[in-house]
């Protein structure tokens, strides 16, 4: 009976499926209850990130018999939703590479840094970075990488528009952007879309002596910030930026610069490598960020490693991993391959001779960082991403007040 055979086959296949698929490829059930198995959740910085970590882990496992590390790499876009789901279910990764840490530390989810790294490792961090990892007198994060923004300008467009020298003040920036825009190419690229509106904003705010606040207070609508936002608004309404800045994302816009279609943008150390790969002929220069007074100031960003407390006691294994990773050779190799600035003393000595990084290393001391130690920072960050672009068609004060109220509500 044909139909019976068919039913039988389907049933057989289904049973087979359940037997076969009870697991999957690889993976070891994330080793619950196993103190010597570490879960590591990291974002993807570049297409080499996964391989870099795999190399570190392989060497680490070889040097530390009995400890295994489960690596999970996610894109930045998905990273936090994966983390949030895990925390909500009480399954936080043992080690996490991310941005803000204060919300986690505030709830006692993190190990203090001194519990998961040796004295030697901790004392090697540059003080300015270590300070950013402190909440209520305790350091939680281990600074992983840093980056600062600089002004990238297209020399050919400068020459064609008759701009003599790269700008150092806002007024010069405005004048240069206007001259270039008059030739038909956007003079200045201002990405206020959801990707990184907070970054572009802080570069401008810092250029007027402003900031986003401190550990205890978020100040978005301060007079300095408002002045800066008004100047940004003026750039937009006078048409010296690219069209639709409020909905422009940073990454594609920097690429447009790399293709020679924008006069000036604020970009990062990685952009140098990106231009090298995508359009090596581009005739461009890198200089300090123009500010209102001409005194250098810029935005600095740091990411960190943090260790979550889980049920089992994994402190020892985590400490072994952190000490291994931050040892000079491993760390420098990692940071250099990803194209970031180092956060350790030994690392910056080792990398001081790197010419591509020189202008950025110079600017590091003047960098203003996000107030990541403030528990309200996450919400402020989100508010900038979803609201700052409205600067395009609302006045500066309204926009900053909206963001401030979101921060205050957090």
């Amino acid at each position: 009976m044909k139909s019976k055979v068919r039913i039988g086959l389907v049933a057989l296949a289904a049973t087979g499926a359940l037997a076969v698929s009870s697991c999957g490829f690889g993976g070891d059930g994330s080793g619950e209850g196993d103190a010597s198995s570490l879960d590591l959740l990291v974002p993807s910085y570049s297409d080499g990130t996964k391989a870099l970590w795999e190399g570190v882990i392989e060497d680490f496992e070889a040097a530390n018999e009995g400890i295994t590390v489960n690596l999970q790499v996610e894109s930045w876009e998905n990273l936090e939703s994966v983390l949030q789901t895990k925390i909500q279910a009480g399954e936080a990764p043992d080690i996490y590479n991310g941005g803000a840490f204060s919300a986690f530390a505030d709830e006692g989810l993190l190990y203090p840094a001194e519990d998961v790294a040796s004295e030697e490792t901790l004392s090697d961090f540059q003080e300015s970075f270590a300070e950013n990892e402190v909440l209520d007198g305790t350091q939680y994060g281990l600074p992983l990488i840093a980056s600062v923004r600089a002004l990238f300008y297209n020399q050919d467009l400068f020459d064609a528009a008759g701009v003599a020298a790269p700008p150092t003040t806002w007024d010069e920036l405005y004048a240069a952007a206007k001259k270039i825009s008059d030739t038909g190419t956007p003079g200045y690229g201002m990405p206020l879309g959801s990707e990184e509106a907070q970054g572009e904003s802080l570069i401008w705010f810092a250029g007027n002596g402003g900031s986003f606040g401190s550990e205890t207070e978020i100040t978005v609508n301060s007079p300095e910030n408002l002045e800066a936002a008004e100047f940004m608004k003026k750039m937009i309404s006078d048409g010296v930026t690219q069209p639709d800045p409020g909905a422009t994302q940073r990454t594609p816009m920097i690429n447009v610069f790399a293709q020679g279609q924008i006069g000036m943008v604020y970009a990062l150390p990685q952009t140098v490598g990106q231009i090298e790969e995508e359009n090596p002929e581009l005739n461009y220069g890198v200089t300090t960020v123009p500010t209102r007074s001409g005194e250098p100031a810029t935005l600095g960003v740091a990411d960190r490693l943090m260790a979550f407390k889980n049920d089992e006691d994994k402190q020892e294994a985590i400490t072994a991993f952190m000490d291994f990773f931050y040892a000079e050779d491993n760390y420098v190799d990692w940071v250099q391959t990803e194209g970031f600035l180092p956060t350790t003393k030994s690392g910056s000595e080792a990398m001081a001779s790197n010419e591509d990084l020189a202008p950025f290393l110079d600017m590091l001391p003047t960098a203003e960082f996000y107030p990541t130690t403030n528990p309200a920072w996450n919400s402020t960050d989100g508010a900038f991403k979803s609201l700052m672009g409205q600067l395009e068609d609302q006045d500066a004060k309204t926009v900053l007040d909206q963001i401030q109220s979101k921060a205050d509500a957090a």
């Binding site: 698929s21 697991c23 790499v73 894109s75 990106q274």
Partner: protein, 305 residues
């Protein structure tokens, strides 16, 4: 449990599967000129539906920097990068071969599971009235309203308890559960359209209900089954939100999640994103090509080859 059947008109013998010898809609004979018109319209329709994927295909054959050139070029200027289709299987970002296998396993078994549980239920609810029938059908449609995307936290927790996180079984169950409503409802509507007299006659001849379902009814609802299969398979194939949190090992993640691994913080390997997307379409098209004939069913009379 026998049902008293009312007197029914004569029906075809039960022994052979029923092949309705009816002329179907749209099987008219038409002139050659009209045929050409249809072919041209058909070609235009194909073009409209394929254009985005042609753009994707062309993109997958460009170099990484070429994809981002401003202004864009319609065709690759540095030669066709056919090597992209080779190198994408061994990128550092994701183990693509495993991702493809995982996706196939999950989608195939989720689809089989849906057919296995939904077919009898669709048949029964179309044929018999029982207390709670409407409640049951409504409950089923409710599962369609609940998208895994807003339920990931609960799903993750549940699979943690069941110790199924990071397993194919978890995703097979999730995909089957959230996609069975369409299969059930569409098969229900097809079963309901079959004259019941056929069943009744069969039962008078002593055939059991299962036999009536499989021998008499199934051949008549093939178009519905085909649609249900494609729907379930495609939804499972492309599921993202639940897979993202439940599958944590790179090898176990389906293609939909693997794709995101090519998106870095500062640079994205678009040539691979496009290439993998093209590759991901192929198995579904193969499945469709295999079962499309069933959609036409016994429809041959009057058709032009």
């Amino acid at each position: 449990m026998t049902v008293t059947a009312p007197a029914v008109p004569p029906v075809p013998p039960v022994a052979a599967p029923v092949q309705p010898r009816r002329k179907r809609y749209g099987t008219d004979n038409v002139s050659g000129r009209r045929m050409w018109g249809r072919m041209i319209i058909g070609a235009l329709i194909s073009l409209v539906f394929l254009t985005p994927y042609l753009i994707m295909l062309v993109g997958s054959l460009k170099t990484r920097s070429e994809i981002l050139s401003v202004p864009p070029a319609y065709f690759p200027q540095d030669g066709l990068q056919l090597g992209n289709y080779q190198s994408m299987w061994s990128t550092p970002e994701t183990p693509l071969t495993y991702n493809l296998l995982s996706t196939i396993i999950i989608a195939v078994f989720a689809t089989l599971l849906v057919l296995l549980v939904a077919t009898p239920a669709a048949y029964y609810t179309a044929r018999f009235r029982f207390p709670g029938r409407m409640v049951f059908l409504f409950l089923v449609i409710v599962t369609q309203m609940l998208q895994p995307a807003v339920l990931t936290a609960g799903l993750f927790r549940q699979m943690l308890w069941l110790d199924l996180n990071d397993t194919w079984v978890a995703m097979i169950l999730i995909n089957a559960a959230f996609n069975l409503s369409f299969a059930l409802w569409i098969m229900h509507s097809f079963f309901a359209a079959i004259p019941k007299e056929i069943d009744e006659a069969a039962q008078i001849d002593g055939a059991g209900r299962l036999k009536v379902l499989f021998r008499i009814n199934l051949p008549l609802v093939w178009p519905g089954i085909v649609t249900a299969v494609i729907f379930t398979f495609v939804s499972s194939w492309n599921e993202f939100a639940a897979s993202l949190v439940i599958m944590s090992t790179a090898e176990n993640q389906p293609l939909s999640v693997a794709l995101t691994k090519f998106i870095g913080q500062y640079a994205t390997s678009w040539q691979y994103v496009f290439g993998v997307s093209i590759v991901a379409i192929v198995p579904v098209i193969i499945l469709f090509a295999v079962i499309e004939k069933r959609l036409i069913g016994g429809l041959t009379a009057g058709a032009v080859k």
